[in-house]
Symmetry: C2
Subunit: 332 residues, 2 copies
């Protein structure tokens, strides 16, 4: 394992301290328990809080700021945060309109956010994201995994919360977006968890993992490496099949998100985007919004995921609204 690190046990704290220092105008980090919150506490709105294991940066701390999250609770790498983190974050950012948790559907995250929710003394609700259409049930998951669609949920729900909308409305929007978003990933290499010191899985130079999870969980199948167009074709087909299975329309405006898993260069991500956009147009969709880059990573995995969110006017409005975070910023 070759990484810029001093001591595995201090890595998260050092990185979070660097993050909070680099973005001191935006966020503050607190330790014991650990959470990141906006520097300027928002007033009179639903407090939107997310969290999960670290190693997916910029998710989630990178999405704390005006127009998106009020706080994020980072666990150790690929490890759920503990309920005391969510409780401390909720106490810190609660602003009299309740707390909304956005939780990727992994057993540990679900359990710990549930425990935190039960202990909350004020109004609360939880959105579980499950946009990964690769597999049902996985190494750490009952049901589908929450992956890159979570970024879209956090952006749009954050936007709606900013308008003063109530808890129920925020939850409804988040669940709508989750339903209308399908994602799938493909890995060319494994990631390496620092504390493990070795790759999470073995993969030969001539294979890829189709449908990989963001922690290196197995996907649909190990298959031969092929040209990008063939891989992207299969990924888009899986997404289109998922949209059909959900009985959603195979037409209309979409947000196309091509996400890098950590070690895949932007040049390749745009190449993937190019093919995916063409295929989706051929299927009858209109690519109305796009996002290409590393938005939810699997540490240092070479690979990419494709997400399609079926837009409507409400989602589009909240996607377009100003956001000012370390990881996503526009109109501000």
């Amino acid at each position: 394992m070759k990484k810029f690190l001093n001591n595995v046990d201090h890595m998260l704290a050092e990185s979070l301290t660097g993050f909070a220092t680099a973005h001191a105008n935006l966020v503050e980090v607190q330790f014991e328990p650990t959470f990141v919150k906006r520097k300027q506490k928002a007033q009179n709105k639903v407090a939107v809080i997310s969290g999960g294991g670290s190693g997916h940066e910029p998710l989630h701390a990178g999405y704390v700021g005006k127009g998106m999250l009020d706080a994020a609770c980072p666990g150790q790498v690929f490890t759920s945060p503990t309920p005391d983190q969510m409780l401390a974050a909720a106490e810190a950012v609660h602003a009299d309109k309740g707390v909304l948790f956005i939780v990727k559907n992994y057993a540990g995250d679900v359990m710990n956010f549930e425990m935190a929710a039960e202990m909350l003394s004020f109004e609360h609700a939880t959105i579980y994201t499950s946009d990964d259409c690769a597999v049902v049930n996985s190494t750490y998951t009952t049901g589908r995994r929450g992956v890159a669609g979570t970024v879209i949920v956090e952006k749009c729900v954050g936007s709606l919360a900013e308008t003063g909308a109530n808890l129920e409305a925020c939850k409804v929007l988040g669940e709508k977006i989750n339903l209308r978003t399908s994602s799938i990933g493909a890995a060319l290499t494994s990631c390496t968890v620092p504390a493990a010191g070795r790759p999470t899985f073995d993969i030969s130079d001539s294979d890829i993992e189709m449908g990989v999870g963001i922690h290196g969980e197995p996907g649909r199948r190990r298959e031969a490496m092929r040209e990008a167009d063939a891989i992207v074709n299969d990924m888009v087909a899986a997404i289109v099949h998922d949209i059909e299975a959900k009985q959603l329309p195979l037409k209309g405006e979409i947000l196309l998100l091509v996400n890098g898993l950590g070690a895949t260069p932007l040049m390749e991500l745009y190449l993937i985007y190019n093919t995916a956009a063409k295929l989706l147009k051929e299927k009858g969709f209109t690519v109305a919004r796009s996002l290409v880059g590393n938005y939810i990573t699997a540490i240092d995995m070479a690979g990419a995921s494709i997400s399609v969110c079926l837009l409507d006017d409400e989602i589009k409005q909240h996607w377009d609204s100003p956001v000012h975070t370390a990881g996503l910023r526009w109109g501000a």
Copy 2:
């Protein structure tokens, strides 16, 4: 070699088409000769054009847009663009106040931009960036290499040009920033040029290349992998030594840019930032502005560079001004 690609010969065109499609509200790409320009042509300002070999994304096409570049000329991966590209770009974006080329100091780029400049029928000037303090003269360079400081030059000169400033003023600002910026990189792995199909250099699991170039050029020395703090300490020491050698003040406000070379996760970049910021404060500097992420990459190299730009009010003003590009965006 394991990459998302179809055909090495078409990779750049496919990627640029994807880029231009994803950012169709911002840019347009033209082929034969190849360049990327703003969708909305700017009027009555110096036209700022950069370019160079591809593989450093988001540089340079990712910096085309209001507040930064008017056009970018991407060559093949790690290969200079040809003069006809710069000529076509200049003809397309020239807006009656002359053309300013921003060129990283590599022999091929220098030669081809010079040839283009000689053929231009209107007023023009060129800024050569040479912020890399690792080595003087290198595989592809006479003098120092231009690296991550180029992003700062492009941002600030782009901002000044937007105010209607003349060609000379833009050139003076760019050269001031280049002088006041020192950078150094360190590689944990090589990059792999798609057309070569194999890593540019061999490096063992226990070594790093200190002072590596953004094309995998040799740095100062091959040295043993150590903890991050020790590596960052040496990098900051090299930068501080360079500032001293240039007889610039070892105090005052700085912009600290920690740049990923492609495959190093954000978590590690923030850890590097944390240590670098601490060390630079101890030396007497005030970290007034920060940028952390992949801004000028070496394809898929695991590694990072640190850049320090000594700020003054003028540089700070132009750094802070609105920018709307695919790769850098704020205030817009």
